[in-house]
């Protein structure tokens, strides 16, 4: 169980790249982008094909991310220049990418188990530099070494990568261009009235978003040890679930960029933990996870609304009850008065 949770943190860190991508399209650009289901696999496909043909895994990963950037830009162009509704533009890209991914891979599944990937390279460095001993020392001193997993290499490497990506993203989103990109999702009319080409910001923003998604796909493929053309099914919902979980659990009411990106990363990790726990439950199977994910998103979208409505309803009822009471009081007072006048007349 403990080992499963460590694994969840590991893959959570890798999937959080994808969650950050979804955060950019969904939240910052207000663009519900379904390209994600396709571009996630595209990143993995490009990387796995390159790795298999002997390209350095770091180059292969970067190439996967770069292709993701291009794919995202195309979705953005379909919407801005082609005036296609955002949802439809995403669906079109998703469907088109399925064929393209198969073309890139040449077959539906590519195993990477005996190939050199970024993770096997990290593992090698870890061993040659004997980092395990250094990292474990404080845990051993505290006497909790037994609770720490045997190999921390991936965890440490993924954490470092995540910190770098988060810092870069935070910086970008607070630059002049990044701030304008965020405003584009907020009020396009206003951004245009200050001489910014919103189309360019949407296209580039979608590019960056899908670049992160493809980057994540490329890492996941290497982590899993295989690429599969169906890997991306439902990915957008997983990303959305991660974003929502993060916002609900970790944003603490602040919507500063630095805080929100952290929340999204943590949300992705928590999602993976839920996944790991669900797998431990006997009557649930791995394939049920998509249903659970969908339910999480539905709940996250509906419950706040529902809570708001009930409180509004209660308030309405209360105010109505008050009004009725007041009316009754007035009615009674008037009744007395008329009664009194009637008496005095008699």
């Amino acid at each position: 169980m403990l080992q499963a949770l460590y694994g969840a943190v590991e893959s959570g860190l890798i999937y959080s790249l994808m969650a950050l991508g979804v955060y950019i399209s969904f939240r910052l650009l207000d663009f519900p982008d379904l390209t994600v289901d396709g571009s996630f696999v595209t990143g993995g496909a490009v990387t796995s094909v390159m790795v298999v043909s002997g390209v350095d895994p770091f180059t292969a990963t970067l190439a996967g991310a770069a292709v993701g950037f291009i794919v995202g830009c195309i979705t953005g162009i379909l919407h801005t220049k082609g005036h296609i509704n955002p949802l439809l533009a995403g669906i079109l890209m998703m469907v088109a990418l399925y064929s393209i991914n198969l073309r890139i891979m040449g077959r539906p599944n590519i195993p990477l188990l005996n190939e050199t990937t970024v993770f096997t390279m990290v593992e090698n460095w870890w061993q040659t530099l004997n980092l395990q001993g250094i990292v474990m020392a404080p845990f051993e001193a505290l006497g909790i070494a037994a609770y720490v997993p045997n190999s921390l290499d991936v965890l440490v490497a993924a954490t470092i990568l995540m910190i770098i990506v988060k810092k870069l993203l935070d910086f970008f989103l607070r630059t002049e261009a990044g701030t304008t990109l965020r405003a584009t999702g907020d009020n396009q009319t206003m951004v245009r009235s200050f001489s910014a080409n919103t189309n360019v910001y949407i296209v580039v923003g979608m590019g960056v978003s899908n670049m992160l998604v493809a980057f994540s796909g490329s890492m996941v493929v290497q982590h899993n040890g295989f690429a599969d053309v169906n890997l991306g099914v439902g990915m957008i919902i997983i990303g959305l679930a991660s974003v929502i979980i993060g916002e609900v659990l970790f944003s603490f009411g602040s919507d500063k960029i630095v805080r929100t990106t952290l929340a999204v990363i943590l949300g992705a990790i928590v999602y993976r933990m839920i996944y790991a726990v669900a797998l431990q439950v006997d009557f649930l199977e791995a394939s049920d996870m998509k249903l659970i994910t969908a339910l999480i998103v539905v709940a996250a979208l509906v419950v706040p609304n529902w809570l708001g409505q009930t409180s509004a309803k209660q308030q309405y009822k209360k105010s109505k009850a008050n009004a009725a009471k007041q009316e009754a009081r007035q009615g009674a007072a008037e009744g007395e008065r008329s009664h009194a006048t009637a008496q005095s007349h008699s």
């Binding site: 630059t175 002049e176 701030t179 405003a183 200050f194």
Partner: protein, 265 residues
């Protein structure tokens, strides 16, 4: 500063809904001129403003700003010359972003947006000084989300954002119409201050005749896509609301068909 040369604009041409919004409009403003535009609904006031801003491209004629022909420039390119405040206080600012971020975006009107840090310490100090001139306390709320401000505060911020980078032309589209009377007065006062401070060439559409007479040095009355009456520095001095209504009736042979204009005279 602003030349409108024989501008024609027809909406829905060759259909039963065809409507001539601007008919051979030919006007010129020199630097520092402040013109107010009044007219009934559908007189072409908004079309005129949108033609200058570039949201509407005229069928014929050119728009020249500071000797640059901008007729074919897209709305966002043209915005480099133009500051704009909309009627809806929500239209001119981004609600999910802070006051300082909004102001930073407005700075980009005149220059390329870089990949350097957006809001720097220096900029923040500048923003604070500009905001202080509004005298409504926004200078202490740089990190407040604009969505949390009141309508009046948001409109004041929109106004500041549209003016402090000194555009060649300032367009005000009934920018006080959606506010309650006390806020309306505040925004009008701020508009006067800012226009004077930056010596801005201004076009203001309004539905209030008194406001139109009191504000600025020129006045255009529009009807059916034409300027049918104008007043300049000298003639505007003695103008009254009664005069305007009489003028309209004399020229058009009908009463001014604008409920709001009548109600608010």
């Amino acid at each position: 500063m602003l030349q409108l040369n024989h501008i024609h604009k027809t909406f829905y041409p060759n259909t039963p809904d065809e409507r001539q919004a601007l008919v051979d409009l030919h006007q010129e403003l020199s630097g520092g001129d402040v013109v107010t535009i009044i007219g009934s609904n559908g007189a072409g006031k908004s079309t005129l403003l949108n033609t200058v801003a570039g949201s509407i491209i005229p069928d014929e004629g050119d728009v020249v700003i500071d000797e640059n022909d901008v007729t074919r420039l897209s709305e966002q390119k043209r915005a480099a010359y133009i500051g704009r405040v909309f009627q809806d206080p929500k239209a001119g600012t981004a609600p999910g972003m802070t006051i300082e971020e909004n102001m930073m975006i407005s700075l980009g009107r005149t220059k390329r947006r870089s990949l350097f840090r957006g809001v720097t310490k220096q900029l923040r100090q500048q923003f604070r000084e500009h905001l202080a001139t509004l005298e409504i306390g926004l200078e202490n709320r740089l990190n407040t989300k604009v969505g949390l401000l009141s309508g009046g505060e948001r409109q004041a911020l929109s106004l500041l954002m549209a003016t402090f980078t000194e555009p060649k032309i300032l367009l005000l589209d009934e920018h006080t119409a959606a506010l309650d009377p006390s806020k309306e007065e505040l925004i009008l006062r701020l508009t006067r201050d800012l226009v004077e401070r930056h010596q801005l060439t201004t076009v203001m559409v309004t539905h209030q005749m008194e406001q139109a007479i009191a504000f600025g040095n020129r006045l255009w009355m529009m009807d059916e896509g034409k300027v049918i009456f104008e007043a300049n520095d000298e003639t505007k001095q003695d103008l009254t609301v009664g005069d305007l209504l009489d003028q309209f009736q004399a020229i058009r042979g009908k009463k001014m068909a604008n409920d709001r204009a009548l109600l608010t005279k």
